[in-house]
Amino acid sequence: MKHMLSALTLSLGLAASLAATSTHAIGTNAGTEIINSATVTYGPSNNQTVSDPVTATFKVDEVINVNVTALDSGKNVDVNAGDQASVQAYSISNLGNGNEIFDLKQTPTGDFTPESTSIYYEAVIGGNGTFDGGEDIYTSGSGLALDPDQEYYIYLVSNIPATANVGDTSTLTFDAISQTDGASTTTVGGILAGKGTDGTDAVVAVLNGTASDATTFTVKAAPSAVVTIDKSIVSVIADVNGTQVIGQYIPGATVKYSVLVTVTSGTAESLEIIDALPADVTFVANTLVQQIDGTGGYITVPPANGGYDSNTHKVSVNFGDSAVGTYEIQLDATIN
């Protein structure tokens, strides 16, 4: 029993000492030979002898330890539904004393599942900490090798589903998992005999050889759309005693108006174009048409979407929630 007790104390002591060093990578690289070399000199004094060095040698074993830290403020990234390439940033560092290969993976939980999530990596030394296309994409299962003390930035890049609602959250958990045989199922202080650098033993200093952190996407209301509006006259045509007169604003002339709305960013919710006609023109029935994004030709505005209101002398057309693009209506009116 006593033997078991001391063994228990020992393993706890090992775990404690490993935990105490978990914030810094530790010293001598695994596989390094520590060579102690002693010599003896002896007499009698008239015949001194110096021995050759006698050595005691062992190899430093490997500690498997890794840290992952979420870098985004408050471990949160605000997004809008439909956002493309929303980025979460992490860092990974090898706190062990051997070159170690880690598999990288991410797991979503929450109100929605981010789409097409890819993992990118960039060495901290020489990197800029910002996802800008200069990174390498990680292939699942391929493993990222880190020397002792080496650090990488990791970027999880996802699309946010267009169907996500304001207030929804989704959390990505990012894991770096040691690929040393058995490490992923070993508790702190566990030993993987012969699995370390150069055949040394590997001692697992982080549960399951895995470091994790998580960041949440929070869906915010889309920013107000930026919309510009432009009203113009397309043509003025008058029929003077059977002759077409173009470009003269004379009574009886038909003026073709265009109102063009451009959404340059965001989504214009319930975009409605309302055109108050001048007092001294008369709307020409059945001339109200619309065209979206400048393609597909002008079509008659469906009555459900709007039309001319003789009471207000206004034309209104509702385009609904309108993404970036152009929305145009045209109508004819005659000069009284």
């Binding site: 007790l5 002591g13 102690n36 002896y42 002898t49 021995s51 040698t57 430093v60």
Partner: protein, 158 residues
Amino acid sequence: MKTLIKSLTAIALLISSINAWSEVELKNEAFKVVTITSENGAKSEQWQTPDKMLPGDKVGYQISFNNTGKESATDIVIANPIPDNTVYVAGSAKGLNTDIAFSTDGGKTYAQPSKLFIEKNGERVQATAADYTNVRWTLNKPLAVGADSSVQYAVLIK
């Protein structure tokens, strides 16, 4: 360790051909120094067979020597550089009937800890255990024929 002893024997044979009077054999062993907490909470150190040697671990070295010659050996001096990638543990060097001295200059000069100084930022300061480069034991008694003894010290793996 076995091969060490073999090579030691080879060395000893070589030595015996030169020196017929006395013959001192050396043995150098490394141990993992583990702190054991007993059931009543008392802590003690135990030297164990080296296993899972990690940065931060304490390593004990025992250098044993015996006189396999036909005459007593005098003026015995054991010299031992502190291994690379390790740091001497203050106060750990021991040896019965020995004077223990340390070097901070790779073994050119030796002195007692209180008399060891180094230059740091242009100032002469007391050397600390981390500055030691070598440890040396000088036996102040001859070693009789057939007698054996040992010295010890400890380091931390960087």
